[in-house]
Structure formats: C-alpha cells, structure tokens
Point group: C2
Chain length 225, copies 2
C-alpha cells in the first residue's frame, strides 16, 4: 500500500504513526484502467475507498439514459462511504477517468477502527460534513448560476485540486472530455463548448485536449460568482 498518500488523506491526517501503519495494513489495494468501472449505481457493497493515484468520476444516470456527474475524486479523497452508514445500494457509478489505484476498507474493519478511536469518527464526520456542504453549494449553483458560471466554477475547483502553476498560467490536466465536463455541471456538451470557446476568446484561458491552461484566474473567478 502507498502509505504516504493515505497518511496525507484528510481522514487519517490526525492518526499517529503506529495507528496509521496498522490501518494501512488492514486495507486492500485495487487497480483500474481508464474507463473501467469499480461499481455500478444499484450494486450492493459495503466498502469504502480512498484514491491513492489517478482520478475517478462518480456518476448517476436517469431512467432515459442521460448521465450526471456528482464529483471527480483524486488522490487522498474518499468515496463509497454512503452505503456504509446509510445502508442501501450504491447511489452512484464509479468509473476511472485515468488509470487509478485505491485502498479499500470493509464495513466490519472500519467499525473496529471507529469504536476505539474517537479521532477516526471525527475525521469521518468532518469529511461527510464537507461533502454535504459542497453538495448544497452545487444545488445553489444549479438554481442561481447560468451555464458559463457553473463551467467557470468547475474549472476553478479542478484547478484548485489538480492544477500546476507555470509561468504561462495554471495548467489543469483534468482528464475530462467536454462531454464529461458538461455532465459535471449539468448542461449539454454544446453549451459547455461554447462557454469554453468564449472564455478562450477573451484570453482568460487556453484550451487543450482534456486540459486547460488558465491565464486569467482573476476574471474567471469573477465570472464564476
């Protein structure tokens, strides 16, 4: 297991060395190739996963086949915990956006950790609370912002988590097609493309396949609010 990344994961950052090592040992490792599905919406399952490398998308699809992405998760982030604490089938499909590896923990194993160590419980609670807050923000954006605004916001979020600052701007290799970006902001691919083209024509960013270079963070942020 890649203990370094696990140690940095928000959930375990408060553990001491000995506890972290023990935890690392009780986790199993999984690997996926780009496009592989880890589990489907509706599956049963009670494992929690932490990304150690790569990116995944959490998505759900409507009865008529349209898709919607709830989140993109990168190294250090946790998912699959809903089915643990609120028993029921998986509420989203998880697909690898790049080749990716995860550590996983089963329900029973996690409970052992929970009962003894209040700090783990608090870590989980704050993790869930953060997710809930974010989800509420997404709701507000869907209600209040137009598509270009939501695209700008999504780019800023991706930049924040996956961006590398260079002298010509912030390089964001988000690894998403415009179709996926559209599903993430809840809009059509065409509209997202037009918003991106508009931002590019204003000189706020440069478009590259599955990535963007943000050249004017300031203006982009202003458009996002």
């Amino acid at each position: 297991m890649d203990n370094d990344v696990l140690r940095q994961a928000p959930l375990f950052s408060s553990l001491d060395d000995e506890a972290a090592t023990a935890l690392g040992n009780s986790m199993a490792e999984t690997t996926l190739r780009r496009g592989d599905v880890l589990f489907h919406e509706g599956d049963s399952g009670d494992k929690l996963y932490i990304v150690t490398e790569g990116k995944v998308k959490l998505g759900r699809s409507s009865s008529d086949g349209r898709e919607n992405l709830l989140a993109i998760m990168g190294p250090g982030q946790m998912f699959g915990e809903l089915s643990l604490f609120d028993p029921g089938p998986r509420s989203a499909t998880v697909t690898a956006v790049t080749d990716a590896t995860f550590g996983s923990l089963s329900h029973d194993d996690l409970l052992k950790w929970l009962d003894g160590r209040p700090m783990v419980a608090r870590g989980l609670l704050s993790q869930l609370a953060g997710r809930l807050r974010k989800s509420n923000d997404v709701v507000a954006d869907l209600v209040f912002s137009d598509v270009p605004g939501r695209v700008a916001k999504a780019l800023l979020d991706l930049a924040d988590r996956f961006g590398r600052t260079a002298d010509d701007g912030v390089h964001v290799h988000h690894d998403l097609t415009q179709e996926e970006l559209a599903q993430l902001v809840g809009a059509s691919r065409e509209t997202v493309n037009k918003a991106l083209a508009d931002f590019a024509s204003r000189g706020w960013l440069r478009l590259e396949p599955r990535s963007v270079v943000i050249m004017d963070l300031e203006r982009l942020s202003r458009r996002a609010r």
Copy 2:
C-alpha cells in the same frame, strides 16, 4: 425538555433510558414564532438543533437576493451540525415556518457524548450520510426533471413526513406559501402555481391555503419519476 420527541429522533433512538435522560438534561430549549429567524447564513455558531415541535426552513440567498430552500425540517430532525464538524460559518439561514421549539446542544457538550459512545457517533454518521444522499438526489432532480416533476416529488416528500391520511385523501399541511414551495424546488412561483393548478385540474389533488389534499397518490408518484 420534551424527552419523548427527542427519544424518537433517529439520532438517539439507539440510546438506553439512562443515557437518553442524561442527554435530555444537557440540552437547552429554544422557542420561535412563525417567521422568526434562528440564525443567518454567515453567522458563527456551533450549536446543533433538534426540532421538537413545528417546522423550519433552511434557506440560502444569492448575491442578487433570490432565495433557495435546502430543506424543511420537522419534529425529530436535526440541523446545524455542519458547522460542528466542518468548522466555518453557518451555511444556511434557519427560519420558523410555524411556531416551533428546539433542543440544542453545543459543540463541547456533543464531543463529550461522542468520545465515550460509539453509538452516538454512528447515529450522527448515518444521519449525515442520509442527508448527503438526499442532497445528491436533489442535484439529480434539478438536472433531469422538469418543474412539474420536481413539484410532484416535493409534495410526496412532504406528504410522507407531514401527511395525515383521511378518507378523502392524504391531507398535507405543509405550512408553505407557493413562493416557498417554489424556492424549495428551485423554480418561479408562477410556474409552480401552474403545475399545481394542472395537477388539481386532473383530479390528482385539491389545493388549500398552505396545504394540499392528495387524492391520487398513484398518478402523482408516476408524474414524479
């Protein structure tokens, strides 16, 4: 304190008598009149509340003054816990929709309960997980469903929680104006009104001030999906 309602609250349903009584004693009671605000979005505060009587709305407002309701909370439901585990200002404004009373618990008091009793931690986790699942559902609805569909879904949810079955249908005294209902589903009052009028003209329900009587649950449910 109204211990009966607290005992029924999902959060504490797993506690034994002695623990529940002790907990009840460590909670303070608050009362509000219809329209009163408990706290505003952006306020600081670290109290968690549980509704013992009445209803409140959790809302947020955009920079240009428009409003959006995240949820309606009734007896037994908990709110305000986000600021506890994910420190930061309150993320929503809480307003009483009817006269209402609450039990409240401060951060410090809650932590005492948490560390000793794994069951309380699990209760909180499952509570939060349920909320997150619901919030994700709302996102999906905003992306996939049209306004009438979202209105139908909201009515069914309210019926489920506040409805009383009588021989002429399910009476739902939701205590919301159509304006508030509109904010809850993320639409304009006019559109919501037209959707309701349409449902009524089909004989699926009867409209009354701040309440509806659902006469054909079957059809309404079908319209909601």
